[in-house]
Amino acid sequence: MEESNNKNNNHVEETSKKIVVPGEFLGQTGKKRIGSHVFIKDNGMYSDVLGLLSEADDWINIVPLEGKYDARRDDIVIGVVASERFAGYDININGFYPSFIPKSALRNPLRLGDIVSGIVDSVNEVNEISLTNIRTFFDGEIIHVSPVKVPRMIGKNNSMLNVLKQGTLCQFVVGRNGMVWAKGGNIDLLVKALRKIEHESHLSNLTNNINEFLEEEKKKGELK
């Protein structure tokens, strides 16, 4: 029992990257390529957000720990039909405004509350998003997660997705906008696992920890 407690403590203590706050000085500008959430002022590099700093000899980048969905082209997003208009539908995709889909782009009409997925076709200068490849989901439910934690829920080469699929036996699709569609399997366990990923996204060795967590939860379920 003690050993398992120690294991749990160890995984929490491992923080591999430095956490920076807005306005934190990151060094003088040199030949480094600047990634996201870094801004330059008077030949100095500064962080503009609360996030994890990753740095190498020739590049610097910050992964935010909190924030809204920052839409990019070709992102797969999940949304809910929020309202119907004469020419199309407003889809709530967790952005600043609902996204509009024209009826001409659809084969079958949608109804309010329908869950759909789409690919971001373009984002204009006022952050309005247009979608293509609209697909409708039947049944299932939506789980809201933090959009900035989505890359951790997918993992390198889908490693985290595979762990979650094997551990929960759910069918699910993770949208880049922080909406997850899930159906079948143990959805409660999936929600627990996703909350754990959100909570510990800044710690290393996350995939193994989630694997252990899912196995433990499975054992608990069997015992009950």
């Binding site: 923080t15 706050v21 807005p22 801004f39 909190e66 405004y97 952050n127 909570h199 510990e200």
Partner: protein, 274 residues
């Protein structure tokens, strides 16, 4: 004269602080789970809670700026925050403070990244003892950073001024009410030393004004450090372990079971008594 000797004696103020010393300041980030960013602040007797929502669609729409986002700052004092009951109706003072604090934050936030949107900041003062606007601004800056909104810098605010022609930092209500006292709320972006809020109540000489600015800059560095620590604290291994969702649920379940047990034992006792 007697009042002067009471309030400042041998370089110490009536509450034991030195002239440039701040009241005890504690900040905790992310205290409201439903808000996108939040912060609770205690600064001496001042207590403030701040919540941030957005960026989101601007309402009413005619306020929307297609070139940048806007900040809607709502400063409100609770009815029980002062000795006489404060009317809940927003007064002239609250509207003014909301305006100046919103403008101070607008300088720090990269609003041009969010055209046509608004960021709503709500600050409720639960208890006040002078310097509540700087407390609100300091809390709001932490709440904005906690919400993940891109910012040039945090905003550190402090009230500086003078009593009996002696420059002091972070005055209490007793000090502020002294005759000829000068109160100067002051907010700065700590890295660039850009002043984003400066108000002045009273008459001050140019030299004293310069000294007050210098004191304000020194104090803001200390406040900035506390703000930074509050943001980092949330991701420290200890707090991650404490707030782990699974553990939280287990604790809640345990509490529920215990309360149920207590209830049933009480009911049994009641039945026996009958």
């Amino acid at each position: 004269m007697s009042e002067e000797t009471n309030l400042i004696e041998k370089g110490k103020r009536f509450d034991g602080r030195s002239l440039k010393e701040l009241r005890p300041l504690t900040i905790k980030a992310h205290v409201l789970p439903r808000a996108e960013g939040s912060c609770y602040l205690e600064w001496g007797q001042n207590k403030a809670i701040a919540g941030v929502y957005g960026p989101k669609e601007t309402i009413p729409k005619h306020f929307a700026d297609p070139l940048k986002g806007i900040i809607k700052f709502n400063y409100r004092m609770a009815g029980f925050s002062v000795s006489d009951r404060k009317s809940p109706k927003p007064g002239r003072r609250e509207v003014e403070i909301s305006k100046v604090c919103g403008e101070a934050l607008a300088r720090a936030v990269f609003l041009e990244k969010y055209p046509n949107t608004m960021i709503e900041v709500f600050v409720e003062i639960l208890d006040s003892d002078a310097g509540s606007r700087v407390a609100a601004l300091t809390a709001a800056a932490v709440a904005l950073a906690d919400a993940g909104i891109p910012m040039r810098d945090l905003v550190s605010a402090v009230a500086v001024g003078e009593i009996f022609k002696t420059p002091v930092v972070d005055m209490t209500k007793v000090e502020e009410d002294v005759e000829d006292a000068v109160d100067m709320p002051f907010a700065v972006l700590p890295n660039s030393k850009e002043i984003v809020l400066l108000q002045l109540d009273g008459l001050i000489s140019l030299n004293d004004f310069k000294q007050a600015i210098k004191n304000g800059l020194e104090a803001s560095e200390k406040i900035h450090e506390i703000q930074k620590n509050a943001l980092l604290e949330r991701y420290s291994p200890e707090s991650v372990k404490e707030t782990e969702p699974a553990e939280k649920e287990e604790k809640e379940e345990k509490q529920k079971k215990e309360t149920k047990k207590k209830k049933t034992s009480k009911e049994k006792e009641g039945e026996l008594n009958e």
